[in-house]
Symmetry: C2
Subunit: 362 residues, 2 copies
């Protein structure tokens, strides 16, 4: 790390990338793999770029063990564009179940309501989204076109500790802030989608993993760029895709595979989260945000009992190279996003600082 005077960036996203990946971006910047050009300059229809895109998809299929009957789409617009694309592409009966577990799941449900009837099948809003609704808290409609959840809730620091059972209704999950953080059984889902800017690549792209029986021609007035069927038929190259983000996705997946894949990543993530939550649970000074049974391994919410102390904590952390720890404005306090590419050392330094800060101010 310190070779480049780098900081530990706890941003909720965009977020840290592995140093070896950044080194490759740097080293290949003027001339990628003997092509005589940067990846940024390549025609998306050229052989070298198509090879990059195919390799990114192949690697994703390998590390996530994506079954063959699923398509992988690289789409522009981030997860927010998918909030509209999902109801537009998946509507049949014209109604869907949405589970509200935080900010983005609520936005997703409101966006979907522009296009289909939305049933709020469960919500933890009454307890300030301190947990993800449990299976027994869900009221599911067996005629729904799909059930939508947001798997990991970045702002509230929660994650579904289980995969909801939805019978024959396809389950759709936004996994933007937990993709590749631990193994996930793709076959349990109709659609998985994720903005890439947390665990994978620079912002400006979403990955959509969709079971192929759900791909059908959407309504005639669907914008071209929101049409899953078209994107699947065109291998995500209906128009020029976000080539740079696809390239970095490939590099990050190569790196992930080189360290042992998602199993090893999950082990590392658990070790980081255990260290931080373990410290929080022992401390009488800090208050952890999320209900313990739904804690996210990616976003750890905590605060002191004083907004002034919280501000002092965040400022002091920045002086030590521990950046972007301020909590989201709706919660205040602190948020440590410890995504895949946050090294263990970063969390160790954070806990050391938390301990020292508590001693000084407790």
């Amino acid at each position: 790390m310190n070779q480049y005077d780098r900081v530990y960036n706890f941003s909720a996203g965009p977020s840290m990338l592995p140093v070896p990946v950044l080194e490759r971006c740097r080293d290949e910047m003027l001339n990628y793999n003997g092509t005589g050009m940067s990846v940024m300059e390549m025609s998306h229809r050229s052989k070298p770029f198509i090879a990059i895109s195919k390799r990114a998809e192949t690697l994703l299929r390998e590390v996530m063990e994506i079954p063959e009957n699923y398509k992988v789409l690289f789409m522009q617009g981030g997860a927010s564009l998918q909030f509209a694309a999902l109801p537009i592409n998946l509507r049949c009966n014209g109604a869907a179940d949405y589970v509200r577990s935080g900010n983005f799941s609520t936005i997703a449900s409101k966006e979907a309501a522009k296009f289909i009837k939305v049933n709020i099948a469960g919500s933890s809003e009454a307890t300030a989204f301190d947990h993800t609704p449990l299976q027994e808290e869900l009221t599911l409609d067996p005629q729904a076109d799909y059930v939508h959840i947001c798997m990991n809730n970045t702002i509230y620091g929660t994650k579904f500790p289980y995969i909801p059972k939805t019978g024959k209704v396809p389950l759709v999950a936004d996994i933007s802030s937990c993709i590749l953080s631990e193994p996930i059984d793709v076959s349990r889902f109709g659609v998985l989608y994720a903005g890439v800017q947390k665990n994978l690549a620079p912002a400006g792209m979403a990955i959509v993993i969709i079971r192929d029986d759900l791909l059908h021609e959407p309504a005639a007035e669907t914008p071209l760029m929101l049409n899953y069927k078209l994107m699947a038929d065109k291998d995500s190259m209906y128009n020029t895709p976000n080539c740079w983000s696809i390239y970095v996705t490939m590099l990050v997946l190569e790196y992930l595979q080189s360290i042992g894949g998602v199993d090893e990543m999950a082990r590392r993530n658990k070790k980081k989260a255990d260290l931080l939550y373990g410290f929080l649970d022992e401390s009488a000074f800090y208050i952890a945000g999320a209900r313990p049974d739904c804690r996210s391994m990616m976003n750890v919410i905590f605060r002191t009992d004083s907004p002034d102390l919280d501000a002092k904590f965040v400022a002091g952390a920045a002086e030590r190279g521990l950046l972007t720890l301020k909590g989201h404005r709706v919660l205040g306090g602190m948020r440590a996003s410890i995504y895949n590419n946050m090294p263990y050392e970063g969390v160790e330094l954070l806990v050391d600082y938390m301990r020292a800060f508590e001693k000084e101010n407790g």
Copy 2:
């Protein structure tokens, strides 16, 4: 160039970037400006990134002399998403005039027809898009919500040699393949928009320059990511934008300003185009594609009288480091895209090769 064994890439887009820009991308990759992180890793809400985004906008306003009553939006999805966003955001009376001058203007008109009534106000399809319709060829509706043109037609190598007069109806122009190539009077337009991957930055973003009286709340069912008003109100950061592309936009604009701005760029582009068209006009071996009064300075279309010779030409060029000269499949032949960042030397080498090829095969 040769310091890095780089080629001359004549791709229609994505396309070449200035070497000094690539060097900065390389040098700042692990640690941007003392922040301790890559631009790819920065929160889009962080001070360093907001400074980058603001500077990109300020530079664009300076070099294009954008009047104050225009908003600049950085949107995801490329120009293709704008084909839908334009009618959705600009519809009032519910009809618009579209001029068909090639492939993308035709797609834009078909996409718009999903949302409003589209009048084809002019078309050069009958002559295989060999020119852009002249003012006297246009039949404009004074009640139209807007008139849409594609200023430079990448596939057919044409460019409007004039700005259509549309009375009080706002003129909307896709300038994806000619933005910043020469001065343009922004005040003549209601909206200018461009995918960035030809003259500016890596793919995955479109710039929208819109007169502020045209910004109003679109229909309730408009997807969030297509809402100009929302994007303007949020300084293009409703969600996480394509930060990397915004950063490279800033670097390219800094470079452009350092060499003398758009005036100097236009002089260089004219010199390159004059060299190539001058040679084509003198040659009895090559056939130039576009009508001379509508020739594009960016995309030069030509062929021999034999598809086999064309293929041989393209293969031989690649051996000399002159890449991606194959014409679009609808036209065949060759296309040399000589965008802003193609050096004069690249065109010189191309003409040298064309001369030698003619001698050998003519």
